[in-house]
């Protein structure tokens, strides 16, 4: 078996899945049934380990074009050994994180998953998604392509709906957002896939509760085919999507104090953990700060980062 070809979700499997639209209307929820949860997690960890092993043992890897041969821009971005910065389609804006990622940023043609650390961190996950979308819209070409944001009513009641005046401070222009308010997860998934397949959007984003493997694979395939990123916000306690290119675990972190008055809130900070990343060892975590002025992430100063990390276990226990 040629090394490197298996990393892609097998296209033949995916295309078989896409031949059955009915499967999409009723996403499989078997993963929530007994026994499905730990098995999925096990497979996920196994897969990441195997990926890591393959990357380490394959000497031709660093010279080989790419671990994921599907898209051209990834091929150029994935020569790990080169230190020359390659312009990626979608970055955090923080050189440390972008350099760590195999695509010098996030891969534009793929499924990315954002998960809150605890159920109470749902707004943090949404906030990170908003910030990432703002960064994506800024570099998407051609410019002024809209983005699709699909939410179920459950999520709207839980964390609120996108609010234009506030999104402006994230750098998102409200007029470019197409908001879909769906009644069910299946409608969100359908809307996301339609958005991807239209090929006219800069990005699609959505929140779903349960996500079956078939539905996730369809999204991943559509995202790869149309080179449009898909950002999924999923609940904290659901198992992760195995076909996602990257999975981020997000929690709120104490914000930076205001320069003039420490009692005032200033920059928003997130505690970010890269739980899964195709082609990279997972588990790395950062504390990042979103800058309202430059619309980019930057690493929080080390002291603040340590304080946040120290505080984290206590918060989880509570």
């Amino acid at each position: 078996m040629p090394s490197g070809s298996w990393l892609e979700a097998s296209p033949s499997v995916a295309s078989v899945a896409s031949d059955h639209p009915s499967a999409f209307l009723s996403p499989r929820v078997s993963s929530s049934a007994g026994g499905g949860l730990p098995r999925q997690a096990l497979i996920d960890t196994l897969r990441t380990r195997v990926e890591a092993v393959v990357l380490r043992t394959d000497p031709g890897r660093s010279l080989a074009p790419a671990p994921i041969p599907a898209t051209g821009e990834r091929a150029s971005a994935c020569s790990f050994s080169s230190s020359a910065p390659v312009a990626a389609d979608w970055t955090f804006g923080s050189p440390e994180i972008d350099r760590f990622l195999p695509w010098r940023g996030l891969a534009a043609g793929g499924l990315h998953e954002v998960k809150p650390e605890t159920p109470a961190d749902g707004p943090a996950a949404q906030g990170l998604a908003a910030a990432l979308l703002a960064r994506r819209l800024a570099v998407a070409s051609p410019p002024a392509r809209p983005l699709l944001w699909a939410m179920t009513w459950r999520d709207i009641l839980e964390t609120g709906r996108p609010y234009g005046p506030g999104l402006l401070s994230f750098g998102l222009v409200p007029a470019q957002i197409l908001l879909v308010e769906a009644r069910r997860d299946s409608e969100v998934l359908w809307a996301l896939e339609e958005g991807l397949r239209s090929g006219a959007l800069a990005a699609v984003a959505g929140g779903v509760g349960a996500l079956g493997l078939t539905a996730a694979r369809r999204l991943a395939l559509a995202a790869a085919t149309y080179k449009t990123p898909c950002l999924l916000v999923t609940p904290a306690r659901q198992p992760g999507v195995s076909v996602a290119i990257s999975r981020w675990r997000v929690g709120a972190a104490p914000g930076s104090p205001h320069a003039l008055d420490p009692a005032l809130p200033a920059g928003l900070r997130f505690h970010l953990t890269l739980e899964r990343c195709r082609g990279r060892e997972a588990g790395r975590s950062w504390v990042v700060e979103w800058s309202d002025a430059t619309f980019r992430f930057r690493l929080a100063p080390a002291v603040a980062g340590r304080a946040a990390a120290a505080e984290l276990p206590r918060r989880r226990a509570g």
Partner: protein, 552 residues
Amino acid sequence: MPADRPLALVQSLQGRLTLTAVNRAARREGLGAGLALADARAAVPALATLPAEPAADLAGLRRLALWMSRYGLRVTLERPAAPQARKSKIGQHRAAVGAPDGVGLEITGVAHLFGGEPALLADLVRRLAGLGLTVRPGLADTPGAAYAIARATAGRHLADRIAPSGETALRLAPLPAAALRLAPETVTLLHRLGLKTIGDLARLPRASLERRFNSREVTAAVLTRLDQALGRTGEPAQPLAPARRYSVRQSFAEPLVSSEGITAALDDLTRRLAASLAAARAGARRLSLTLYRSDGSLVRLAAGLSRPSHEARHFQRLLADKLATVDLGFGVDLMLLAAPASEPLEAMQTSLAGLTPAGVGEVALLIDRLASRLGAESVLRLAPQASHLPEIAEQLVPALEALTVSQSPGPPERLRSGQAPEPAAPALEPSSAMPGRGARPPFLLPHPEPVAVVAEIPDGPPASLEWRRRRCRIVRAEGPERIAPEWWQPLMALTCRGEPRAGAAPRRQPRTRDYYTIEDEAGRRYWVFREGLYGREEGEAPPAWYLHGLFA
């Protein structure tokens, strides 16, 4: 009820019960519409009666008329007497005679599609008989003549009921004058004058009619009806459904039962409709697809378009979604695709590579597809509105109605270059860079939620917050930002979820809000407000705290 028993429908007209319709057995007994129920009972004691339902009759007739639009596009409801004839000096009003009792259909230039006029009429009678309806057809050059033939011809033969082109006067001559859609009083008057048939009337010199009637109005009514029947003057018609400018149809020899066949036919229809729209430089804003099922029922599907389009692929994808859910029943024998609303379509500048700018068409198609499946109210755009109240400062508008997504300005320049931090992005929106305005959260709850807050009175920031049964200590706070109710707006009461005091006056005066951005020890950031000022607005209830938005 057995068909051979005399049956009549009765209705109370001006204080007395009157027959409005009778069945064949009753007509054989000599009864007819317009007779008082008491007289009818005296003549036929065994007469069974049912209350008349004019509204249901009219609805049924309308449905039948719509069904008839399969033969021709101009369908009218026929009324027996015109208003000016009822305004005669005799003045006896009979409301019942004004109600429509027939369907008119213009088949000019249509009959050959069905194999000629007799074949069309035979097809119509056969199909209606299949629906359990008896029909008295009439076919002539003018609506008036067709009306007269349909109602006054005795013969059942279809050949008797078709007046060939040019023979209208000949066919009408032996028919009674009542068939001319004249008010009953006028007909009585004509009878008294010995003018029993249409032929008698037509032979008379026109000038002498007025002298005989001694009434200009009656003369005018009679002459107008006569001229209309003979085609000497035109007759304005009010088509039931407005004639569609863009419509294509496809009929099938055998009823189509397979969805593949329907899809293929839809493919063809959309291509033809798109071609006719493109030829007229128009784009459809609404589409309506009508499926005529072989059992006489019909299904109407509609789809809206966010911007005018004449792309067959666009139409096809919009309608195919809806078509998938349609029950085809015993098969479909006719499909009609129309664009009831269309707009001139401006030519679009394409780029050198032949692509439309920024995928405008694709976005429109996406919006249409999302809206047609999820409902127009579920696909929204965020529109700013000039208001200080946060929940009003943004309005959600259906994307189908206002498509400016693709015409929006790009992201702010500083974001594009990723450097050069400037204090604020000007020229984005009037409210965004408003000086002195506090931060706004990226996510706003649909309704402010009541929270339990410990705060210093009168206007200290919260020190602790309990929301959704989670308590947290607040370590940083910014505020207050005071937002007063907009007195120039109509009274808008705050609607909150889980209103704590259900017994309080439901519609109280809006109060001033003090907004705070607060951050708890874990770094979660909330946007809360206190409604009401201590000392000034404590009238009905003490000030209360609400959570309105979330930062992260």
